[in-house]
Symmetry: C2
Subunit: 369 residues, 2 copies
């Protein structure tokens, strides 16, 4: 028995294309996975969701979470799985009282609006999030080495948006009012959020996540200057604490800021491996700006999936060609991970997803010869 190499309780990885691309290493084709790939557009997801009774009933049950995470992999040859969970588990564990009313978005019973509410905030006991880590381990086992498993969290700023607004918002008035009028409170909340996110992601890594992603879904609503101070700085604080490897294996980290195009150069300085991009970003420009240090993930418009197969294939070609030929050979260089620019729409025809995945694989192989 070789005691110098830590033993893993999991099966060896059979498809490491996604991990290699994250680390800017050459791959035979461009790996692809889709944000929200386990979700309402799949009838089998809706069936499991019905059994679970509610969204959080689904997310907090290890078996159900495992089942829905693997569903898209049964249909499509995706190159990664992503933990099925909610973005708001951390504030829920902080005691803010998360609920999902039918047909509406998430709501918190206790929005964080003033100094007293901020004073009560603390990094939650990670035991309250045990159901997430259990799901990670269960999914990792069920994957059996088929593809890597991505863990995730909302960014400190994105969590703060929900914590202050108490629900979704279209103008972010409450959270921005606090930001501009009580920056001290906002900074305090963001520090707590950042340290919480770091602990949360590390616990996911220990539970079996092979890569981690930070979703800064609302970073793009901030003004230039405010983004750097209130979102980017706290994403950096998370990354400074997140494990870069586990049991001797590198754990790539991905940062996705919806609407983050204006700050790509600054995001290029982050201590992460991959930048996720939305569809407004030109991949050739992004590659020129940050491709020397980061893999790029993205960025087709999810609404392309409502077109016909030939049109989907043509749009896939545009995105692949916009990035251009990825790095090949030894060492590291610019690489691309294909994805949507945002989550898949619930009305998407599943057959069109099959067309997209197949097109990415087939076309990207040709891009390399």
């Amino acid at each position: 028995m070789n005691t110098s190499v830590p033993t893993s309780p999991y099966a060896p990885l059979q498809n490491d294309t996604f991990i290699r691309a994250c680390l800017r290493q050459a791959t035979d084709y461009t790996p692809v996975w889709l944000m929200r790939q386990a979700g309402r557009y799949l009838p089998e997801y809706r069936a499991t969701r019905a059994k679970a009774g509610s969204f959080m009933g689904l997310a907090t049950n290890t078996d159900y979470a495992t089942e829905v995470t693997l569903q898209p992999l049964e249909r499509f040859p995706l190159d990664a799985a992503i933990l099925f969970s909610d973005i708001l588990t951390i504030p829920d564990a902080m005691g803010l009282g998360l609920s999902f009313a039918l047909g509406e978005g998430p709501k918190f019973a206790h929005a964080v609006r003033d100094e007293a509410a901020v004073a009560k905030l603390a990094v939650p006991d990670m035991d309250k999030l045990r159901y997430v880590f259990d799901a990670v381990t269960s999914i990792r086992k069920a994957l059996n080495g088929r593809v890597p498993l991505i863990g995730f969290s909302g960014s400190p700023w994105t969590l703060a948006c929900y914590m202050v607004e108490g629900a979704g918002s279209d103008d972010y008035r409450a959270v921005k009012t606090m930001l501009y009028s009580r920056p001290d409170l906002m900074h305090k909340m963001l520090q707590i959020n950042a340290d919480s996110v770091a602990q949360y992601l590390n616990a996911q890594i220990e539970a079996g996540a092979q890569a981690v992603m930070i979703f800064d879904s609302w970073g793009g609503v901030l003004a230039d200057g405010a983004f750097q101070e209130f979102s980017l700085a706290y994403t950096a604080r998370v990354l400074a604490q997140v494990k870069k490897e586990h049991n001797g294996v590198r754990i790539p980290s991905i940062v996705f800021t919806k609407g983050g195009g204006p700050w790509l150069e600054e995001m290029g300085q982050l201590n992460c491996d991959v930048l996720g991009l939305d569809w407004t970003v030109n991949l050739a420009k992004a590659r020129a700006l940050v491709g020397h240090s980061k893999a790029l993930q993205g960025n087709i418009d999810p609404n392309v999936l409502f077109a016909n197969p030939a049109q989907i294939e043509a749009e896939v070609a545009k995105v692949l060609n916009s990035f251009g030929t990825p790095h090949s050979g030894a060492g590291t260089g610019p690489t691309h991970i294909f994805n949507l620019g945002h989550g898949i729409n619930q009305h998407t025809p599943p057959d069109n997803v099959a067309v997209l995945v197949q097109a990415v694989h087939a076309q990207s192989r040709k891009l390399r010869v």
Copy 2:
């Protein structure tokens, strides 16, 4: 009588700071106006709105439209007025049946979803929009030369979003489905929209508008590539037809694309005088990219107006300093028109608007010495 100079029925302009800044000419201070400056945050607006009975009752009545357009000027020393009207007057004149349900956004009775519906579209008879042009003339007279009057229209793409969706949308699924699956129909609609917008703006200019602005409110939801093909190209088609002068007087044109930051260089090629910018854009970078040919308008986050006076002043300073010292002396050079990065929030305290306007004027004078 000097017959070589066309006579104007209007009083001479007393404050031409805004027009000069549009034309990249030196001014003593940075002019300021606010998108949606006539609106619900003003109690006097709400009173007129109540008298009118409905939003379109307000917009279609010349006296009311004049009254609300001038209301913010009575409170604040703004450097421009903007026509009070709706962005959807053109599709309404096309026969799509605009209505505003209480507490909801605009709705069209006849959304344009298929080939038959597109085939029925045509540039509307401008007589159906007579109420808009009458309002322009009435406002111009009532202003009596105090400040210039800006006319406006939605962009061809932004109008198409509403025409296809039939209402507001959070995912633009219907309009993007048409764009990706029936680009021929989308191009046809956009051509009709562009020619309609051009006629509409020209009629506003003839009625007395001293500058015109195109609001591409939804351009930023498009993917890179699609923006250029389906939004920018049709904004350019409008600009190619819009009068650059009237009765020997230059009429500046402004293009504002919310979320247009990624395409600033390409927008710098437009045949317009001013680019409006949202708050995600760094003004120093924008000036370096396009300041050699365009004046810049924007871009403070409207939520800054929920902070206290000292904080508002500090945020105004950040925006002014981000642009830097404007052109001074003879000839033309980089200039800045202060504005919000989007419409003012309906919950804004009016006193805070006074603080902002005063801060822009006072601080920007110092920036010049």
